[in-house]
C-alpha cells in the first residue's frame, strides 16, 4: 500500500480543470482501480466508463500521462511513484463530463457499412473454411471498439471536419474484416474510396501504436484496402481504357476536400 496522487480532469466541455486526489494504491493495481477508489471514497459523482476490467470490452479508454490507453490494462507501477498520474478524457471526441466523452459518431459510421454478403454455400449446404483461410481476418475480429485509434488518428483529431469524409481506423479494420472474410462476395472498392475515404489515411501508423488488441491496423488493414482501391481506380490500363471510352476520371481525395471546403 502506498499513497499516490491521481490528477483527474473534472468538469464538462469548456468548464473543467484537473483535480488532485490521494488514494491508497495496492500491489498489482491498475489505473482504473485508483480511479474507482477515488469515485467510491472521495468523489462519487466522478464520471468514468468501464465494464470488464480485463481489456476485453474497450470501455475505459483515456489519456494517461498523455498516452491514450485502457485504464484497466495500465499498471500503476508504470509511472514514477513520487509524481501524480494524470488522467484526461479522449481528446478527439466531445466531452460529456470528467473522463467520459461522446463517442456516438462511431455508431453512426457503423450503420453506414453494408453487411457482409456471402457467396452461396457448397452443394452440401455447409460453409467450409480452413483455419488458414480465416487466419488473415482473425486479427481484425479482435477489435474491442475502444476507439483509441479513432482518438489518435490525426486526420480526425486535428481536423474534426474530416469526420464527414473519413471513417477512421476502427472502421477501416471493420471493412478489412469484411473484405478478407473467406466467403465474402462483395466489391467494396467504390465504397472504400467514396464513402469511407480510405485515401485520407496517410499511413502515419499512430493508430497501430495505441491499439490494445495489437491489431496492425495500418499495415494489415488499411494498406491492403488502399491497394484494392488503387487497383480499381489508378490502374494505368484501366485509366487508359476509361479515357478511350470517354469516361471522366474520378476526382482524387485532395479535390474532394477542396470541394467540401468550398461548400
Amino acid at each position: 500500500m502506498a499513497l499516490r496522487t491521481i490528477r483527474i480532469f473534472r468538469g464538462t466541455a469548456g468548464n473543467g480543470t484537473f483535480v488532485d486526489y490521494q488514494v491508497e494504491v495496492e500491489e498489482g493495481n491498475v489505473v482504473l482501480d485508483a480511479v474507482l477508489k477515488v469515485q467510491a471514497q472521495l468523489a462519487p459523482d466522478l464520471a468514468v466508463r468501464w465494464n470488464c476490467k480485463a481489456g476485453k470490452c474497450g470501455s475505459c479508454s483515456a489519456e494517461i500521462n498523455g498516452l491514450p490507453r485502457l485504464m484497466c490494462m495500465t499498471r500503476m507501477t508504470l509511472f514514477p511513484p513520487d509524481r501524480p498520474v494524470t488522467i484526461a478524457p479522449l481528446k478527439a471526441f466531445p466531452l460529456i463530463k470528467d473522463l467520459v466523452t461522446d463517442v456516438s459518431i462511431n455508431y453512426h459510421i457503423a450503420r453506414q457499412i453494408p453487411p457482409l454478403r456471402l457467396r452461396p454455400p457448397g452443394p452440401d449446404g455447409i460453409r467450409r473454411m480452413t483455419m488458414d483461410d480465416i487466419e488473415r481476418a482473425r486479427e481484425f475480429r479482435q477489435c474491442i471498439e475502444c476507439f483509441l485509434c479513432q482518438n489518435v488518428c490525426h486526420v480526425l483529431r486535428d481536423h474534426p471536419e474530416n469526420w464527414a469524409l473519413f471513417f477512421g481506423p476502427r472502421w477501416m479494420v471493420r471493412l478489412a474484416e469484411l473484405e478478407m472474410h473467406p466467403l465474402d462476395d462483395d466489391d467494396r472498392r467504390n465504397f472504400l474510396k467514396e464513402k469511407a475515404g480510405v485515401g485520407y489515411c496517410n499511413i502515419t501508423k499512430c493508430c497501430t501504436e495505441v491499439c490494445p488488441a495489437e491489431i496492425r491496423i495500418t499495415d494489415n488493414a488499411i494498406i491492403p484496402l488502399k491497394e484494392r482501391v488503387a487497383d480499381l481506380h489508378y490502374d494505368p490500363f484501366r485509366w487508359l481504357l476509361d479515357r478511350l471510352r470517354g469516361k471522366r476520371p474520378i476526382p482524387r481525395p485532395e479535390e474532394r476536400v477542396e470541394k467540401a471546403a468550398a461548400s
Binding site: E26, V30, C57, I96, R141
Partner: protein, 598 residues
C-alpha cells in the same frame, strides 16, 4: 423532474447483450418497430466476456453427438430440476442458431475439413462448444450488433429502465433515463423484452461488471411477474485470485477443456478425490485414463476437471479450507506442463494476455492461481418455455435474466446457446403479441410522475449515506452469508441484514447533478440489488437440501422429494416477496427414456 419525451415502439428490448440483440433482431424481422435500451455503449455487455464457446450438438468433431445427448447433459448438470421443455427446445435449436451466426458473418474456429470446430467442456459428454479461440463472446456480440444495426433498429445507449409501465394489467411501456444527461425517457411500447443479464454485483467476488445489478429481475418483480430458482447462484470454479484488483475476473473453463489440470499446494491433482457417485460411471479414475480421453473419447472416461462447475467449485473451496491452497488463497490451474507455448497462445490468447499483463504470470511457463468467483444466476424471471412470456401480458424475458433452462447448475457453453435460442423466441413472440394489439395500452401519468420523483430523491438529500458504501455492505453480506456453502442460521442473519439495508437505502444521498453521475446511478441500483438479494436468501433458506449450486451445510444431501418443486418468489399486495412451491410438470415418457438410456 419536469417534462419528458415519449418514444413509441411496438417492442422495446431492455439490454444489449446476446439475448437482447438476438431478441431485437427477431422482433424487427417480424415487422415490429423495435428499439434497444442498454446501460452501457453498444457492444460492451457482459456477453463480450464469454470465452469458451457456444454449446450446440453440431457433431462436427464427435459424430455421435445429437440433441438428445445435449438435452441429457443439460438436465443432469441442472440436477433434474430444469424446465425440461426449455432444455429440449434449447438442445434442438442451438445448432441452427450457431449456423445462423455464421450466415451473419461470425467466423468460428475450423476443423481440418473446414467445418466449425468444437471443444470439450465441463459436463458435456462430447466436444460441443463452437468457439473463436477464447474470445467467443466478442465474436457473438459483434455479429449480432452489426446485424441489429443493419436492420435499422434504434438503440438508446447509456440508458436505464427503472419501471415497467402498465395499464391495469398489460405492459404499456417503460420509464427510464439517459445516464449521460439525466433526461427522463418514457417509452410507449406494446411489449417489453427483458434481457438485462445477471446479478453479480450482489457479491463481492464476481466475474460480472458493475452493470449486473439485477435490474430485469427487479423490474419484473415490481411489475407482478414471478422469479424462480433464485437459490441457484453459480460460482465459477476458476476466477483470478491475485492481484487483489482483479480478484474474480474469469479464467475460462476452456483452459481445462484444452487439457489444463487443477493442483493443490502439494502438487496433487485433487479432483480425483471429489467425483460424486452421480458422475462416477462417466469420469476417469486415474490421471492416465483422463489424459488418454483427450485423444480417444470412446475408450476412456472424462477427466474429473471437467465435472460440472458446482462440483469443481466446491472441491476447490474444500481444498483451500483444508489448508492446501496456493499463497493467495486459491489453487493452481496448470496448462504450462500440458501444452506447448505455441498451442497455449493459439488456443487461449486472451488468457495468456490477461495473466501476463495483470498478474505478471506467463501461463506457458507457470501455473495460474485460481479460486471460485460468482459468475451466473440460474434463477430469474419465470417464463413460458415456448414463448419466453412472463405472467404479465406483454412482458417477455430471455437470457440470464430468465430461468428454467439450467435448473440447479448451468453447464459451460449453455449460456451463449440459451441467449440465442430464447432471445430469438422472446423477440418473435413479443413482436407477434405486439402486432396483435391495435395500439399500445395506456399508462397513467401519475405513475410516471411518482416514479420520476423517486428517481431524483437521492440527489435532493442534503446528507445521507454513500451509496457505494451501502453496496459494499450488501456484497460483504452476500459473500459471507449466502455464498458457496450456506447454513440456515447464516441465511436468517443475511435476511435480517438485507432488511436493515433496505431501510437505509431510503436515506442514501448522491452529490452532484444528473449528468453522468455514478453515485446517483448506484443509489438507483440499490433497489434492484436488494430485491434480488432478498429473493436469493429467502429461496436458499427454504430449500433444505443440497442440489447443484445450492449447498447447505445443515442439509448436505440431495433430497429426491425436493426435486418435485421449484421455488417461486413474487410480490404480495404490499410489494413484499412471498415464496411458494411450484410443482414440476411431469416429464413425458420419451424424454425420461433419453435420460435413462442415452
Amino acid at each position: 423532474m419536469a417534462g419528458y419525451r415519449v418514444h413509441e415502439y411496438d417492442v422495446l428490448v431492455v439490454g444489449a447483450g446476446g439475448a437482447g440483440l438476438r431478441a431485437a433482431i427477431a422482433a424487427a424481422q417480424e415487422g415490429a418497430r423495435t428499439a434497444i435500451v442498454c446501460k452501457t455503449l453498444l457492444g460492451k455487455a457482459h456477453t463480450v466476456m464469454a470465452e469458451g464457446g457456444v454449446a450446440a450438438a453440431l457433431a462436427t468433431v464427435d459424430s455421435e453427438d445429437n440433441w438428445r445427448v445435449h438435452f441429457r447433459d443439460t438436465m443432469r448438470g441442472g440436477k433434474l430440476i430444469n424446465d425440461w421443455r426449455m432444455a429440449m427446445i434449447h438442445a434442438q435449436e442451438a445448432p441452427d442458431r450457431v449456423l445462423e451466426l455464421e450466415e451473419w458473418g461470425a467466423v468460428f474456429d475450423r476443423t481440418a475439413d473446414g467445418r466449425i470446430l468444437q471443444r470439450p467442456f465441463g459436463g458435456h459428454r462430447y466436444a460441443r462448444l463452437a468457439h473463436v479461440g477464447d474470445r467467443t463472446g466478442l465474436e457473438l456480440v459483434r455479429t449480432l450488433q452489426q446485424k441489429a444495426l443493419s436492420l435499422g433498429i434504434d438503440v438508446f445507449m447509456e440508458t436505464s429502465i427503472v419501471r415497467i409501465l402498465k395499464d391495469s394489467q398489460r405492459v404499456a411501456g417503460a420509464l427510464g433515463f439517459r445516464r449521460d444527461t439525466g433526461e427522463l425517457l418514457v417509452f410507449r411500447a406494446k411489449a417489453v423484452v427483458l434481457a438485462t443479464g445477471g446479478i453479480g454485483k450482489c457479491y463481492k467476488v464476481t466475474s460480472n461488471s458493475w452493470e449486473y445489478t439485477g435490474d430485469g429481475q427487479a423490474l419484473a418483480f415490481w411489475a407482478g411477474a414471478e422469479l424462480m430458482d433464485m437459490e441457484f447462484v453459480q460460482f465459477h470454479p476458476t476466477g483470478m485470485v491475485w492481484p487483489p484488483s482483479v480478484r474474480g475476473v474469469l479464467v475460462t473453463e476452456a483452459v481445462r477443456g484444452e487439457g489444463g489440470v487443477l493442483l493443490n499446494s502439494r502438487g496433487e491433482r485433487f479432483m480425483f478425490h471429489y467425483i460424486p457417485d452421480y458422475y462416477r460411471a462417466e469420469t476417469a479414475e486415474t490421471p492416465q485414463e483422463a489424459d488418454r480421453w483427450y485423444h480417444d473419447k470412446r475408450n476412456n472416461r472424462r477427466p474429473p476437471e471437467l465435472l460440472p462447475r458446482d462440483v469443481v467449485a466446491r472441491a476447490i473451496n474444500a481444498e483451500i479450507k483444508a489448508g492446501r491452497g496456493s499463497p493467495h488463497g486459491g489453487v493452481y490451474l496448470d496448462i504450462a506442463s500440458r501444452r506447448s507455448p505455441k498451442e497455449i497462445k493459439h488456443l487461449l490468447p486472451s488468457m495468456y494476455e490477461q495473466f501476463a499483463k495483470l498478474a505478471d504470470v506467463d501461463i506457458t511457463k507457470e501455473p495460474m492461481e485460481v479460486g471460485p468467483t460468482m459468475h451466473y444466476m440460474m434463477g430469474g424471471i419465470r417464463v413460458d418455455p415456448e414463448t419466453a412470456a412472463t405472467s404479465v401480458p406483454g412482458l417477455y424475458a430471455a437470457g440470464e435474466v430468465a430461468c428454467g433452462l439450467h435448473g440447479a447448475n448451468r453447464l459451460g457453453g449453455n449460456s451463449l446457446s440459451d441467449l440465442l435460442v430464447f432471445g430469438r423466441r422472446a423477440g418473435i413472440y413479443a413482436a407477434r403479441y405486439a402486432n396483435s394489439l391495435p395500439q399500445a395500452p395506456t399508462f397513467s401519468g401519475d405513475e410516471v410522475e411518482t416514479a420520476a420523483n423517486e428517481l431524483i430523491e437521492p440527489l435532493h438529500r442534503a446528507d445521507g449515506e454513500n451509496p457505494f458504501a451501502l453496496q459494499a455492505e450488501l456484497q460483504e453480506t452476500m459473500q459471507n452469508l449466502v455464498g458457496i456453502v450456506r447454513t440456515g442460521d447464516e441465511l436468517k442473519e443475511a435476511l435480517h441484514k438485507i432488511q436493515e439495508l433496505k431501510d437505509r437505502t431510503k436515506r442514501v444521498a448522491a452529490v452532484g447533478d444528473v449528468i453522468y453521475n455514478p453515485g446517483w446511478h448506484m443509489a438507483i441500483s440499490l433497489g434492484p440489488l436488494l430485491v434480488v438479494a432478498e429473493a436469493i436468501a429467502l429461496s436458499a433458506l427454504e430449500r433444505r437440501e443440497s442440489r447443484g449450486a445450492h449447498t447447505r451445510d445443515d442439509y448436505p444431501k440431495e433430497d429426491p422429494h425436493q426435486a418435485s418443486f421449484n421455488l417461486v418468489v413474487s410480490a404480495d399486495l404490499q410489494g413484499r416477496p412471498q415464496l411458494r412451491k411450484e410443482p414440476r410438470p411431469e416429464m413425458p415418457q420419451e424424454l425420461k427414456k433419453i435420460l435413462e438410456e442415452v
